[in-house]
Symmetry: C2
Subunit: 438 residues, 2 copies
C-alpha cells in the first residue's frame, strides 16, 4: 500500500462513518476508478476512546495535529459542521499542503472566497459539492458544465426539512406547529429548528450558489430572509385556489442596476405557479433550477440530505482529488471574484400575495385598495372570505401585479395603522413564476 492515497476524516458522525465504510468496502472499485488505492489514515473525533462503527479504533484520534503530522495523508475531509473549529482545521490542512473536501455550508458561505484563494496559493484543491443539495450534483455543474453561460437566475428548494413541512401543510391542511412536531419526531427537524425554519440554512446554501453562478463574492448577510413560522394552513388553501404551491424558495438573480450589476438574493416562502417544475418537488427532496443565456433552464433534483446522498457527494470530491493526485494534475487556478453589489430590498420588484384580517364592515376593502393604489400597487386578484362571524372579521387575500417592494412596505405600514379596520396583516409572500419580474 506504499502508493495509496491517504484520506483523513475530521468528524465521524453518520456521514463520516458512511464515507469511512465506503472507502473500506469500495476499495477495489474506487482503486480502479482512481488508478491508485485509497487508504483511510486517521479520523478526528471528540472522544478517541469511544468505538465507532465502521472505523478501525487505531485510526481514531482527538488531536488534529496528529492528522496533519501524518505525511501519508493527501486529502483531509471535513465533516464536523459548524463554523469553528471546522474553519480553522480547513485552513490548517490547506496551509499544510493537503487537499480538502468539505460538506460545510456555513464555513463555505462565510469564508469560502478566502479559503479558495488560500488553496489556489498553496497549489491544492478545496471541494465542497456536499455543502449544497446533498447528493445532487450542483456545485460541479455550475463550476464546469454551465461555465460558458451568463447565469441570470438560480431558483432552488434547498432545505429538506422545511420542504417536508410545507408539503405536509399543503397536502393535509395541517398547521405549522403540528408539522414541526412531526418533522422533529421523524428526525427531519432539530429540537431547535431555527436554522431550518427561519431560512438560515437555505441562506448559506444560496450564498454559495450565487457566488458560483454569478462569479461574485456573496456573503450570507446579503441574502434577505423570511422564515416559514408565520404560515397558516389556510395560506395553502388560498394559494391552491389561485393556482399556486407555497415553497421556501431560495432565489438569486443578477440584474442591471444604476452602477453595474446588482445581486438580488432572497429566501422566503413563495407562491409558485403549479405548472412550474419546482412546484412539484415535494417532501424532503431538493431541486436547483439554473437559467443561463445559452442553456435556458436546467433543473437538478434529488435527495438534498441524508447520510448516504451526502456521502455520495463527499466521495465524488474525494475521488476527483484522488485522480489528480494519482495523475499528478495541478489544480485549476481560482479566478478572483469581486464582491457583489446587493440591490437594497426596497428596490426589488416582485408580485406579492397578502392575507389580511379585516373588520367585516362596509368600506374596509375600499380603504385598503385606496392605500395600495396611492402607493402605485395594482391588484391582480382579490378574494374576501368571512372568517369569523362572532368576531365580525373577514379575511381578504390579495395578489398584486409586479411592484417595488419599498412601496408595498409603505402601503402595508399605512394599512396596519388602520387598526380597528385591519386587526392583522397576516402573510405577505412573494409570488414566483408568472410575470414576477424582479
Amino acid at each position: 500500500m506504499a502508493d495509496a492515497i491517504g484520506i483523513a476524516l475530521l468528524g465521524a458522525g453518520t456521514v463520516g462513518a458512511g464515507v469511512a465504510r465506503a472507502i473500506e468496502t469500495g476499495a477495489e472499485r474506487y482503486s480502479s476508478r482512481v488508478g491508485r488505492p485509497l487508504a483511510l489514515r486517521g479520523v478526528l473525533v471528540r472522544d478517541a476512546g469511544r468505538p465507532r462503527e465502521g472505523v478501525p479504533s487505531d485510526h481514531l484520534t482527538s488531536e488534529v495535529g496528529s492528522i496533519l503530522a501524518d505525511e501519508g495523508t493527501h486529502v483531509v475531509v471535513e465533516l464536523m459542521g459548524g463554523e469553528e473549529p471546522a474553519r480553522q482545521h480547513i485552513e490548517s490542512a490547506l496551509r499544510s499542503g493537503r487537499h480538502v473536501v468539505t460538506a460545510n455550508k456555513e464555513v463555505m458561505a462565510k469564508h469560502g472566497p478566502e479559503l479558495l484563494a488560500l488553496a489556489a496559493e498553496r497549489g491544492v484543491r478545496l471541494l465542497y459539492e456536499a455543502a449544497v443539495g446533498g447528493g445532487i450534483p450542483i456545485i460541479s455543474p455550475l463550476s464546469r458544465d454551465l461555465l460558458a453561460n451568463e447565469i441570470t437566475d438560480v431558483t432552488a428548494i434547498i432545505n429538506g426539512t422545511t420542504n417536508f413541512m410545507l408539503t405536509a401543510m399543503a397536502k393535509r391542511g395541517a398547521e405549522y406547529g403540528d408539522v414541526l412536531a412531526e418533522a422533529q419526531r421523524l428526525g427531519y427537524a432539530e429540537a431547535d429548528p431555527a436554522a431550518d425554519v427561519d431560512g438560515g440554512d437555505a441562506a448559506y446554501k444560496l450564498a454559495i450558489l450565487c457566488g458560483l453562478a454569478f462569479h461574485v463574492v456573496v456573503s450570507p448577510e446579503a441574502v434577505s430572509r423570511q422564515g416559514i413560522r408565520g404560515l397558516a394552513a389556510r395560506d395553502f388553501a388560498y394559494a391552491q385556489d389561485l393556482g399556486y404551491a407555497i415553497k421556501l424558495l431560495a432565489q438569486g438573480s443578477l440584474l442591471p442596476g444604476p452602477t453595474g450589476a446588482e445581486l438580488v438574493a432572497t429566501v422566503s416562502p413563495t407562491l409558485i405557479a403549479r405548472h412550474e417544475p419546482l412546484a412539484t418537488v415535494d417532501g424532503v427532496r431538493n431541486a436547483v433550477q439554473v437559467e443561463g443565456d445559452l442553456v435556458g433552464r436546467v433543473l437538478f433534483e434529488g435527495a438534498g440530505a441524508g447520510a448516504r446522498p451526502t456521502a455520495s457527494a463527499v466521495l465524488a470530491d474525494v475521488l476527483d482529488v484522488a485522480r489528480d493526485v494519482a495523475t499528478g494534475r495541478l489544480p485549476p487556478e481560482a479566478a478572483p471574484y469581486a464582491r457583489a453589489q446587493v440591490r437594497p430590498r426596497e428596490r426589488v420588484v416582485a408580485r406579492h400575495y397578502l392575507r389580511l384580517t379585516v373588520a367585516d364592515r362596509a368600506g374596509v376593502l375600499a380603504g385598503i385598495a385606496g392605500i395600495l393604489g396611492r402607493h402605485e400597487i395594482s391588484l391582480a386578484s382579490v378574494i374576501q372570505v368571512e372568517a369569523d362571524s362572532r368576531a365580525r372579521t373577514a379575511e381578504i387575500v390579495i395578489t398584486t401585479h409586479p411592484a417595488v417592494t419599498g412601496r408595498l412596505d409603505g402601503a402595508l405600514t399605512e394599512i396596519a395603522a388602520l387598526e380597528g379596520d385591519v386587526p392583522e396583516v397576516g402573510s405577505v409572500l412573494p409570488i414566483y413564476g408568472d410575470g414576477g419580474a424582479r
Copy 2:
C-alpha cells in the same frame, strides 16, 4: 495573442456558428475563466467560398489537413454529425495530439471506447457532453459527481422530437400522422423522421449513458428498440384512464445474471405512472434520471436540443480542456472497460400494456385470458370497450403483472393465431414505475 489557446471547428452549421460567435463575443469572459484567451483558428466546411455568419472568411477551409497542420490549434471541435468522415477526423485529430470536443452521438455510441483509449494513449482528452441531452449536464455528472455510486438504473427521455409528438398526442388526442406533420412543419422532425421515431437516436444516446453509468462497453446494437409509429391516440386515452403517461423511455439497468452482471437496455414507448417526475417532462424537453446506491434518484432536466443549449455543452467542454491546457494539467487516465453482457430480450421481466382488437362475441376474453394464464402471465387490469359496432369488434386493454418477456411473446403468438377472434394485436408496451421490476 501569442499565448492564446487555439480552437478549430469541424462543421459550421447552427451549433458551429453559435460556438464561433460565442468565442468572439465572450472573449473577455472566457479568458478570465480559463486564464488564457481563446482564439478561433480554422473552420472546416464543405464550401470554403460560401460566407458563414459569425465566422471570419479567412478561417474557412475545406481541407482538414490544413486544420491539423496548424501548430497553433490545441482543441478540435467536431460538429459535423454522422459517422464518417467525422470519426476519421476525430481519430486524426487525436493522433496529431489535439484535444477533441464532439457533439456526435453516433460516433461516440459506435466508436467511443476505442477513441477514448486512443486519446488516453496520446495524452489528450476527448469530451462529448453535447452528445446526450443537449445543454443538460449529464456526461460530466456521470463521469465525476456520481462516481462513488454503483449506478443501478438510468431512465431517460432523450429525444425531443418524439417527446414533442407524444406530448401532443396525449394533450390533444391527435393521431401520429398529424403530429408528425406538425413536428416537421415546426422543424423538430426531419423530412425522413426514421432516426427519431424509430428510436435510433435515443439508442445511440442510451448506449453512451449506459457505458458511463455501468462502466462497461455498450454497443448501440445492444439496445433493443421499439419506435412510436404504431401508437394510436386511444392508447393515450387508455393510459390516462389507467393513471399513466406514455413516453419514449430509454432505460438501462445492470442486473445480476447467472454468469455475472447483465445489461438490459431498451428504447420503447412506455407507460409511466403519472406521479413519476419523468411523466411530467413535456414537449421538446429532455430529462435523465439516474439511480445510485448512495445518492438514490437524481434527475437532470432541460432543453435536450437546439443550437444554443448544444453550444453551451460544447463550450463547457472547450473551456474545461482549455483550462487544462492553460494550467498544464494532464488528462486523467481512462479506466479500461469490459464489454457488457446483454440479457437476451426474452429473459427480461416487465409489466406490459396490451391493446387487442377482438371479435365482439362471447368467450373471446376467456380464451385470451386462458392463453395468458397458461404462459404464467397474470393480469393486473382488463378494460373491454365496444370499438366498432358495425364490424362487431371490441377492444380489450390489458395490463399485466411483471412477467418474463419470452413468455409474453409466446402468448401473443398464440393470441394472434386466434385470427377470427383477434383480428389485430395492437399496441404492446412496457410499463415503468410501479412494480415493473426487470
